[in-house]
């Protein structure tokens, strides 16, 4: 009796073993915590349930920087995951290391997954592409800076949502009088430097914003436009038209959630989180403002957030599984679900159309701002930037611009320092590629 039981159990075990063995297992390291992480798990579960050949396991590895660093350490030890999420500022590092990843475009076409870069929303297409326009990383959680407004605050002050910074300057005193901080932002480099250049179609770096190669790339932030913008921002701060609460994203966003700030520049991806905060006022979102004195009409912004990279050194079967996962991930239904749950933009036009047809934007007009802004007019400087050691360059930007706002330095000195230290870092990065 006992022996039979054991034999039966062993047989069942063996069967289960073979069943599991037939599945190709792949891993996905990501930096999505909290609610976002749960949505990531939902996508993985959906993929695993949709077929029985492949199984993906998502693993949360901490912040963007921590995920990249652990991915690098794992790669050097030959233990890399199949898919690694890398954020915008780290893209030059991972794309520069040719041989670390399999370009997603090659991966898909080699494994029989249809790919056409024109299926992707314009502002999404080329950020993670090489200088030939070949997509290297699959845009995943893509967002763009937009401006959220407290409709009750604007009504109390009797003003309209501004589309330009000039209009903002006109309404700011009224908002202040009504007892609000007129404007806060959440990420100085991303919103006031990187996308500032795209919104006004200004060059952000030489070598086509750095896409043509690390060698000789120079950052271009010490411009009249940047000087004008930050001189204004500092004036607004001193007048009480602008609030600054440090580098922490949440510290600034909290001012809006508390109903203290009338408007805040944040990420289109904040939308999902804001809907769960139960804020007591009406709110909506609008395009990132631009200076009418620089451009008559604003240009598209590019995506922030992160992309998924297929790491090299994996078997053909696992790469096939990764390709199949990307096929699933970019399907309109999954993209729409991700967009709906998190507020990140859908990466394909088909997914955007699906969201529209489903009435998502009738229910939540604020959700459409991000995708629409990414489809505005394009220019030669709007596809993004590719700069090495950009995480450190961002640290320099945060430091110097923070010092401008706290009055420790002048706009001129700060921008000159960013350019000087930025160029030193870029030159150093070029040497790491040698």
């Amino acid at each position: 009796m006992n022996t039979m039981k054991i034999t039966a159990a062993a047989a069942a075990f063996a069967l289960a073993g073979t069943a599991a063995f037939a599945e190709t297992e792949i891993t996905w390291w990501h930096a999505m915590g909290g609610n976002l992480g749960e949505t990531v798990n939902k996508i993985a579960e959906g993929f695993n349930a949709s077929q029985d050949e492949y199984k993906i396991t998502p693993v949360f590895k901490g912040s963007y920087e921590e995920t990249l660093t652990s991915g690098i350490a794992a790669f050097r030890a030959g233990e890399q995951p199949n898919i690694m999420q890398v954020f915008d500022a780290g893209s030059a590092t991972v794309i520069g290391a040719q041989g670390a990843t399999v370009p997603v475009q090659d991966l898909l076409s080699e494994n029989g997954v249809d790919f056409d870069i024109n299926d992707y929303i314009p502002g999404v297409r080329y950020f993670y592409a090489d200088n030939q326009g070949k997509m290297i990383g699959m845009p995943f959680n893509s967002s763009s800076p937009v401006m959220y407004y407290n409709a009750d605050a604007l009504a109390a002050a009797g003003v309209e949502v501004p589309t330009t910074y000039e209009e903002f300057e006109e309404i700011a005193p009224k908002l202040k009088e009504a007892g609000y901080i007129p404007l806060v932002q959440t990420h100085l480099p991303w919103e006031f430097v990187e996308n500032f250049h795209s919104r006004h179609n200004l060059p952000f770096a030489t070598n086509a914003n750095g896409y043509d190669g690390a060698e000789g790339t120079q950052i271009l932030v010490n411009s009249d436009e940047m000087k004008m913008h930050f001189t204004k921002v500092k004036e607004w701060l001193d007048e009480g038209y602008f609030g600054f609460f440090g580098t922490g994203w949440d510290d600034n966003q909290a001012q809006f959630e508390d109903g203290k700030a009338a408007m805040y520049i944040g990420s289109s991806g904040d939308f999902g989180g804001l809907t769960t905060k139960g804020m007591s006022f009406e709110w909506g979102s609008a395009y990132l403002p631009y200076w009418a004195s620089i451009t008559d009409e604003g240009y598209q912004t590019f995506i922030g957030g992160a992309a998924l990279f297929a790491m090299s050194g994996k078997s053909a079967e696992e790469n096939k599984a990764t390709a199949e996962f990307f096929r699933y991930l970019t399907s309109p239904e999954v993209q729409y679900m991700w967009h709906r749950e998190t507020g990140y933009v859908p990466v394909t036009t088909a997914a955007y159309e699906l969201a529209k047809a489903d009435g998502h934007y009738d229910r939540f007009p604020a959700a459409e701002t991000g995708p629409k802004q990414l489809m505005l007019q394009a220019g030669e400087n709007t596809r993004g930037y590719r700069m090495g050691f950009y995480v450190q360059i961002r640290d320099v930007e945060n430091r110097e611009l923070g010092r401008v706002l706290s009055g420790e330095t002048t706009v001129e000195d700060a921008l000159a320092t960013i350019e000087k230290e930025g160029n030193e870092l870029l030159a150093r990065f070029a040497k790491t590629q040698g």
Binding site: S63, E65, E66, L68, T69, I72, F75, R76, G90, T93, V94, G96, A97, Q98, G99, A100, F244, F245, G246, T247, G248, D251, A254, D258, F389, V391, Q392, D395, V396, N398, R399, E400, L401, G402, R403, L405, S406, E408, T417, E421, E424, L425, R428, K431, T432, Q433, G434
Partner: protein, 293 residues
């Protein structure tokens, strides 16, 4: 007297091997690797690298930011060390005199010791919170608009306060045991010679505490330089921007966040030399100036 010894020459070596191999693998090998990396600029993934000689060091020497971080580290270390020692000494002297409920007081003064630096940092974040931190509100009442993480000075202030608070208990324990090991006869003799309590303290108690004090001085400098990492990391939320940071934190920021392996290695070599100097200083002082008996 018979000398104890090993029968075989190989046995002691064999017994030392585990310890030595741990030191070799976890200390010397990484240290040697850091020295080597500091002469290169390397692609983080390990594909490309360029030998740059001393460039990583010279760019540190030229960097205004590195100088600023160094200056802050010096000021921070002096402040943290001084206040941790001074407060602990004051508390120890007072606690030494308490007779009723002495144990409860001492326990209360010591238990902060169990708090890990990152937890202390989080408590700092709560106390100094921009929106509802009780200390922020208190300062506000006195007209000080405290702005943690947006203002360099305010953040530095919070870092020093939290780091001192975390370190006082350790010093307190050592000072208290130091005080209690001063022989009663010495104290009684001093009582006859000098009626002023403060005079007795400076003339008799303080010199007798010198060995403890010197030991604690070294411990506290090391603490301020290295172990405050957790406090700083939580207070700046991993992104210092225009806020102060210490040299150790900069190694982490450039190496682990920025993936600049060469530059970060050069910084860690500089710190290794600093530790070496501190150690040499400690041994010299211990042997020459400070008398433990």
């Amino acid at each position: 007297m018979k000398r104890a010894g090993f029968a075989s020459r190989w046995l002691p070596i064999l017994l030392l091997v585990p310890q030595l191999s741990i030191i070799l693998v976890f200390f010397y090998w990484p240290a040697a690797y850091a020295v080597k990396s500091s002469f290169y600029l390397q692609d983080p993934f390990g594909f490309g690298q360029t030998f740059v000689g001393l460039e990583n060091y010279s760019s540190l020497a030229d960097s205004a930011e590195y100088l600023r971080v160094t200056n802050f580290t010096v000021v921070f270390t002096v402040l943290v060390t001084f206040f941790s020692l001074a407060l602990a000494l004051l508390l120890a002297v007072k606690a030494d005199k308490v007779i009723r409920g002495a144990k409860s007081y001492r326990t209360l003064l010591m238990w902060v010791y169990a708090v890990a630096p990152p937890v202390a940092g989080y408590m700092g974040l709560i106390l100094f919170n921009q929106r509802w931190g009780p200390l922020t509100e208190l300062f506000g009442m006195f007209g000080w608009e405290f702005n943690l993480r947006a203002d360099y000075f305010d953040t530095a202030f919070a870092m020093v306060v939290v780091s001192v608070w975390k370190q006082v208990p350790v010093n307190f324990i050592f000072f208290l045991s130091g005080l209690q090991s001063i022989p009663k006869s010495v104290r009684e003799a001093a009582l006859i010679d000098n009626r002023s309590a403060s005079g007795r303290f400076w003339d008799v108690t303080f010199p007798l505490l010198a060995p403890t004090g010197f030991f604690l001085l070294i411990i506290n400098i090391t603490y301020a330089l290295f172990d405050t990492f957790g406090v700083i990391d939580t207070l700046v939320k991993g992104e210092p921007a225009n806020n102060p940071m210490t040299l150790v934190y900069k190694v982490y920021i450039d190496g682990f966040r920025g993936n600049d392996l060469g530059g970060s290695s050069a910084q860690s070599v500089v710190l290794m030399l600093l530790v070496l100097a501190l150690t040499v200083f400690q041994f010299r002082m211990v042997e020459k100036r400070i008398h433990y008996t």
